[in-house]
């Protein structure tokens, strides 16, 4: 398997603060890869460096081609970033959010694509006109996911999808992500605070510590290594 996404020695900073100190990782085509670590370890910044929402240096390759410029360019290149805290247009309707998800695509099948999303998330078909801001937290997260899928991304990046959601809903979201991965070969890079959930979904994981990769390996390895589990994953 070749790597769809590759980060080589990526640094990123917020003003004077260095948030990533040379992160290298690879996401194989068709894989689910998790980025784990404590608060402030640089998980979110890793995703942001890929989508171009933070100033970064180092090499980021998608399909062997360098990813440059701002988030507009990343979106166009096929990277869908679902940011932390949902990231829906709360003032716009559900359907409008979905339409925006397909913004970079020239498509005539918008309706069919929205219907496809309604198959994953049945509530969408009844509440298309509802304002996104009036949805529950779980529904907003699902909408953010559906909106990302509307762009038919090469790479889906999820930032803490479990944040603030009930366990059942988290389970449902990860079930759908896994299904998309298995049935459609969707490549996923997921950032999670909750290592247990993430390791269940991912085949490979990287553990970050103060802006660097501290440990990496297959999910099984990380899960079964008592020392790693205790010191990095906290369970």
């Amino acid at each position: 398997m070749s790597a769809l996404l590759e980060l080589n020695d990526v640094e990123a900073r917020y003003g004077p603060v260095l948030a990533l100190r040379g992160v290298s990782l690879a996401v194989p085509e068709g894989a689910v890869v998790a980025v784990l670590g404590a608060n402030g370890a640089g998980k979110t910044t890793t995703l942001r460096s890929v989508s171009g929402t933070v100033k970064r240096s180092g090499e980021i390759l998608l399909d062997g081609k360098p990813v440059r410029g701002g988030p507009e360019a990343s979106a166009k290149a096929g990277i869908a970033h679902v940011p932390e805290g949902r990231g829906t247009f709360t003032e716009l309707s559900v359907v409008e959010n979905l339409r925006l998800g397909a913004y970079t695509r020239r498509t005539r099948s918008l309706k069919a694509d929205i219907e496809q999303m309604a198959k994953y998330f049945p509530w969408i078909s009844e509440r298309g006109e509802q304002r996104a801001g009036t949805l529950s937290g779980g529904e907003q997260q699902m909408l953010a996911l559906a909106r990302a899928l509307m762009g038919r991304p090469r790479l889906l990046m999820l930032d803490e999808p479990s944040l603030g959601l009930a366990p059942l809903i988290v389970k449902e979201i990860f079930r759908i992500v896994r299904e998309l991965n298995e049935k459609q070969g969707l490549t996923v890079l997921v950032v999670e605070q909750d290592a247990r959930i993430a390791l269940n979904a991912a085949s490979t994981a990287y553990v970050l510590e103060v802006g660097k990769v501290a440990v990496s390996g297959s999910s099984a390895e990380l899960r079964n290594d008592e020392a790693i589990r205790r010191s990095y994953l906290g369970y």
Partner: protein, 294 residues
């Protein structure tokens, strides 16, 4: 009673114009977060362009109207890219000051190019009136109302049904998120400024025949538009239009039936509306009250 209805109809016509300019203010307020003090002068400038085309270059009215709209769109877009965009990320007061600078600059420029002389502008509509049930209605009023409503409906359809319109709304409500889905936000905001300039140009061209054209022509109209936008809610497009109509009809009726106000006190009355709305219901009729999160 006939007088009452006549006043209502002409009030709707002038209210439609206030509504258009108010809609332009709302568009820019949503896109850039500030009130554009130069909106009236941009409209005045556009009206001069139309006047020059018809008077000096022999273009007939409606083609000149269309050319002016295109020029206004380019002008509004250009103004955003050239002078608003560089200060947009700073505090809002900087943007406000730039719009005030624009107001003075456009006013001075228009005086320099076209002199301050007051010009008569032809109306595209036939003069005279027709009667419905004893009420005399001016053709000009009906024409003005038709153009205003057409403009509002076209705008609404653009924002509601087109991809670009949706992207523009997304860029205005949540620029960071919009960039993540691939929307080029600065381009969209420039587009918003262009469309606002177009609405203003229509308002200016509809105003000119009744008040004559001079560089200060739009200043009082801008005050009415402010009042309309504040009344409707500065972030509400529907509010701007409804606010404009209420103001147009209301001021007309008050001017007719309340003796001591007459036409001299129309402008202070509009300011009074602004003051009262800001005191009683700052969000306006259609606005959502702002909730400050602590």
């Amino acid at each position: 009673m006939a007088q009452f209805f006549q006043q209502v109809v002409s009030g709707i016509a002038s209210g439609g114009i206030y509504g258009l300019l108010a809609l332009a203010l709302v568009l820019i307020h949503r896109a850039t977060g500030v009130v554009n003090f130069a909106q009236g002068e941009m409209a005045m400038f556009a009206t001069y362009i139309a006047w020059t085309l018809t008077t000096n270059h022999g273009v007939s009215y409606w083609p000149a109207f269309a050319i002016t709209l295109l020029a206004s769109f380019a002008g509004g877009f250009g103004i955003h890219q050239a002078v608003i965009r560089p200060v947009e990320r700073g505090s809002q007061i900087r943007v406000v000051i730039v719009t005030i600078g624009l107001l003075l600059m456009l006013n001075g420029l228009a005086t320099w190019i076209w002199t301050g002389e007051v010009r008569a502008v032809q109306s595209p509509f036939p003069g005279g009136t027709f009667e419905i049930g004893g009420v005399a209605i001016a053709y000009a009023d009906v024409g003005t109302i038709a153009v205003c409503f057409a403009a509002v409906i076209v705008m609404w359809a653009f924002f509601q049904f087109t991809k670009v319109g949706l992207a523009l709304r997304a860029a205005a409500v949540n620029p960071n998120e919009a960039r993540l889905v691939g929307v080029r936000v600065p381009l969209m905001l420039g587009l918003g400024w262009g469309l606002a300039a177009v609405l203003g140009a229509i308002a200016g061209m509809l105003t000119a025949p009744s008040v004559f054209l001079d560089p200060n022509m739009m200043q009082s109209v801008l005050i009415y538009a402010f009042a309309a936008a504040v009344l409707g809610g500065i972030d509400s497009p529907i509010g701007a239009v409804v606010g404009g109509l209420i103001l147009g009809v209301g001021l007309n009726l008050i001017g007719t039936y309340v003796d001591f106000i007459g036409s001299d006190l129309r402008l202070p009355a509009a300011l009074l509306v602004i003051l009262i709305v800001l005191l009683v219901r700052p969000a306006g009729l259609f606005g959502k009250p702002e909730v400050k999160k602590v």
